[in-house]
């Protein structure tokens, strides 16, 4: 199947700047795709610098490899980790050059798609979902957050998580963590499925139970579908930056 990809990002309705950065690429033969969302944070404009440095470094390593559909699963994960290491180094160098950027950091979630096979890597709370043609969306990443740890150890339920005051505290991110070994996942897309990467601006503004209908309500291009979901988040007064990247087979 020939893959297509698109991405949209917006400041949202409350923030002064957009500190998210996104990228999506599809190989010339349509067999491979790369999708990235990074959500920057920390310091005046530092977050936007961190997320863009991360996306640039990831593209630098991964984009040339998009043409190589012969990579096995182990090689894909090694390559992605190399790219994440380079992104981390790039942010660290910028922090060393300018002390005002010392607190900057960024989440990152990226998907490497080969045909129907999807490798996902992430640090932080930006997420990857499989959006099936029918049925509920499936979350494919586990947030690196204090709140997720508390859900997992039974301290709170998932339903309580959105009300916890420190729900925005990350346990891992580029720019802060010395260990930037990504969490990896693998799954396969069925015909009619869509892959969605997003920053938490989307998950906070629109319940994921509504996404599939919002994506499918817009019969136009993939970009029009992504924009439909984005518009809903803005209608819902998205308090944070909102980023969405879609990949469809």
């Amino acid at each position: 199947m020939a893959l297509s990809a698109t991405g949209v990002t917006d400041t949202g309705t409350k923030r002064a700047t957009n500190q998210d950065a996104i990228a999506c690429r599809v190989s010339d033969d349509g067999e491979a795709a790369l999708a990235i969302v990074a959500d920057g944070m920390g310091g005046y404009e530092g977050g936007g610098i961190a997320s863009q440095l991360a996306v640039d470094a990831l593209l630098e390593v991964l984009e040339p490899a998009l043409v190589n559909s012969a990579l096995d699963a182990v090689s894909v994960e090694e390559l992605i980790q190399q790219a994440i290491d380079r992104a981390s180094d790039s942010i660290a160098r910028a922090q060393n050059r300018d002390s005002s950027l010392s607190k900057m950091g960024t989440t990152v979630v990226l998907a490497w798609v080969l045909g129907h096979r999807v490798h996902v890597a992430h640090l932080g709370d930006s997420r990857c979902y499989r959006v099936p043609g029918s049925g509920p969306v499936e979350l494919k990443t586990r947030d690196d957050t204090v709140v997720q740890n508390m859900v997992d150890d039974g301290s709170i339920t998932a339903a309580e998580a959105p009300r916890v005051p420190f729900r925005n505290v990350l346990t891992r991110a580029l720019g802060s963590s010395s260990d930037v070994t990504a969490s990896f996942g693998y799954f396969e897309l069925a015909p009619g499925d869509c892959l969605l990467l997003c920053s938490d601006g989307l998950t906070d503004a629109v319940p994921d139970s509504e996404w599939r209908d919002l994506l499918n309500d817009s019969p136009g291009s993939l970009e029009a579908r992504a924009r439909n979901l984005l518009e809903q988040s803005l209608d819902n007064q998205a308090a944070d930056n909102v980023s969405i990247v879609l990949v469809q087979g």
Partner: protein, 117 residues
């Protein structure tokens, strides 16, 4: 410091500071917070203060209903299991209304940040 403030007609009539690791709430005099009112069971609810395993200097407060007759409610929803209290939650013990306030909670940053290693 966290506290439960009892409200009558939206006015605070009494404030109970939650000082120990456990605070027992009920009608019997041996409770830490004794509410002598018929809708309150003798041993009605238990509030636990638990140091957060992942965030230094953060204490979480959890409330449990102790099989009371008339229930324990948070923001008008009857609790079934142990539930975390968030600052400004309305807690109802039988027909008695309280506001939970945790002053330390308001000092937490509102924007995303990364846990220091």
């Amino acid at each position: 410091m966290a506290a439960l403030s009892q409200l009558v007609d939206n006015v605070v009539v009494h404030t109970f500071e939650l000082t120990g690791p456990q605070t027992r709430v009920g009608r019997h005099p041996d409770n830490d917070i004794c509410i002598d009112e018929l809708s309150v069971s003798s041993r009605h609810a238990l509030i636990e203060a638990v140091v957060n395993s992942y965030l230094n200097d953060t204490v979480d407060y959890y409330i449990n209903d102790r099989d009371s007759t008339n229930g324990t409610f948070i923001n008008d929803v009857r609790i079934q299991d142990r539930q975390r209290l968030n600052s400004h939650d309305l807690v109802r013990i039988g027909w008695n209304l309280f506001r939970f306030v945790d002053e330390d909670e308001s000092s937490l940053e509102k924007t995303a940040y990364i846990l220091e290693e």
